[in-house]
Subunit: 399 residues, 2 copies
Amino acid sequence: MIDTARFLADLHELRQIGAFKTGVHRPTYTPDDMRSRHWLMDRMREVGLVPSMDGLGNVLGRHPGPGPHLLVGSHIETQDEAGWLDGALGVVAGLALARAGLAVDVVAFADEEAHYGSFLGSRSLIGEVTEAEIDAARHCIHGKPLREALAEAGLAGLPRARLAPARYKGFLELHIEQGSKLENAGLRSGVVTGIFGVRLFRITAIGQQDHTGGTTMAERRDALVAMTRVLAMIDAEFPRQIGDGTVWTCGRLVVEPNAPHIIPGRTEAIFSFRDLDEAVLDRLSDTLRRIVAEADRRDRCAVTLEPVSRSAAALADPALHAALIGAANRHANGAWQPMPSGAIHDAQHMAKVMPAAMLFTPSIGGISHHWSEDTKEEDLVLAIRILGDAAAQLFSLRS
Amino acid sequence: MIDTARFLADLHELRQIGAFKTGVHRPTYTPDDMRSRHWLMDRMREVGLVPSMDGLGNVLGRHPGPGPHLLVGSHIETQDEAGWLDGALGVVAGLALARAGLAVDVVAFADEEAHYGSFLGSRSLIGEVTEAEIDAARHCIHGKPLREALAEAGLAGLPRARLAPARYKGFLELHIEQGSKLENAGLRSGVVTGIFGVRLFRITAIGQQDHTGGTTMAERRDALVAMTRVLAMIDAEFPRQIGDGTVWTCGRLVVEPNAPHIIPGRTEAIFSFRDLDEAVLDRLSDTLRRIVAEADRRDRCAVTLEPVSRSAAALADPALHAALIGAANRHANGAWQPMPSGAIHDAQHMAKVMPAAMLFTPSIGGISHHWSEDTKEEDLVLAIRILGDAAAQLFSLRS
């Protein structure tokens, strides 16, 4: 039913756009990202969908026949110098289902990778993004205003689309695992039970920039020493407060002025943690607040904490989840497991307006957000068969 | 004897070149840096010296009369967005002494601020810099090759100068304190007993870049967590190993890829410490090696240590030091102190080939390497009087 050869061929064709080593480099709204969106619209036309792109670059291919429909997709842009499957897999999977004649709309949500914002595309499609948020958004590293990036990408002035939830039985997203749980367990597929909630904070330490040689230790207000103490306290205390499977990360640390012979005057860390249980997230938020307050009191630097974003944990819709489990049992009996998603996904936002569920395929070595990210071809084929079977099952239940 | 008004006027004129807020921005070999070097050559001609610039941008103004001479100077380029007196003060002080009729050569050593190397100018003038070192040198932040910067500055092909140590009774350098010891003690001048030795190391942690959500804590090899543990161990252990007045600093920490949702795959820290006592420096080097080896053994990341540079502690020449003390007693009785220099200076390298000594003037609030760096005008005037008196004393002893 599913043309798996064509599915793989589409993935490899998309991989050529913005190729970097064995991965791809298609940050949101760059020329290569926009080329990939237009490539996708061409493929949608080929499989009989009616494509459109909205003012944030969201691409939606609508099935022209009668409903109800399933919405299937993911994102198409990538992190910098990242993998070829992260996001792309879920979008191309949607194409494969549509090509097989299923009543599927295919979507590529813009900027899931947070170059300019937090899930701008999927949140805009469900009405959560205001014009003011777009006015204020800037690139997370170099600070270019989102409006400028949209204008450069030829999107200025295009209307933003809104999904009609009543059109859909639900949303399915196939994604790479971005971890090594499946590989370590010798399994080939994962049916996602729920998506972790995430709390993201900014920790800032303000000290006094000074020459390293002429300033005694007693006189110093070293913002990197202060930040090191905060991170060391987190390293010591978080393991005592966590739940099963909690993860926590300082992914970004900026030191100013970051010169060998100057005492750091300011440091800023982005720190986040994830869990399926909101009570655990609340407890860890309290722990973090206490650690930062203690550092601020003890240290000669001013240390502050600021919440940047949070997303609530989302459990899979029971009917969609059951359809995926049925298909996994038929195609991969004994070779799949139920599992939570530590990573956040567009499905989390779709789950606010319609039933949603996700399927994972293994990441070799657990690697993602890196150009060496990969998945075995036979696992990709298995995944599209499970997804297609589950979708067919959902339509047959209805009819 | 010293024209203090003219001395201050020269300082304020030089301050206009590359002005940034109340400070200056004249990184080595930038157009503003080169303008300041040509400005200096014009001033040298005015006071009767014969100026020349060499292939690294070192500016030397030779006194045309009979010797022996004193060499007086410092550097003229600055850190990024830094202070107006750091370096410039010592160069303009040389001009003031020459203008007063003393047999003084004035020097501005290139790149003391280490944009491209470690004391390239002063080390080249004493024959310590090879062409191969120049070939290999790159800008410490953006990586531009030194050869390219020299060509852009119009210096390519110019010969490098060598000092003739026999020409000189010695070298005197007036510099801002770059600390707050004088201010805190209510003093107006410091006669430098010696310059701290410095050991500078690179610490590198190599882990595995990965998505923050999909990778369990047990699977992670987080290069920032590994580096945090090293810095926390230093923070805990160094205070037990130090000497009187030792300082230690991690001024630069680079996290890759430094994105909120990616586990850091690589971190690199530049860590240094300073003391007057080589035995203390040796002991701290051993401590650092032990800490890094322990982190490498304990952690799932590879943690390595690499020495980048070292400079030996340098004590002041007794005769020059005594002349400065005599002058300080005459002009600032009870308002000066002997003190070591925590910062390294060009004088450290001059001390290898001729007698050398330094004089400090207070930094308001102890601030340096920042545009808000400043010194009271009356302290600047006092400093040039002490320096001029000491120089005159040294010439009179000889004659």
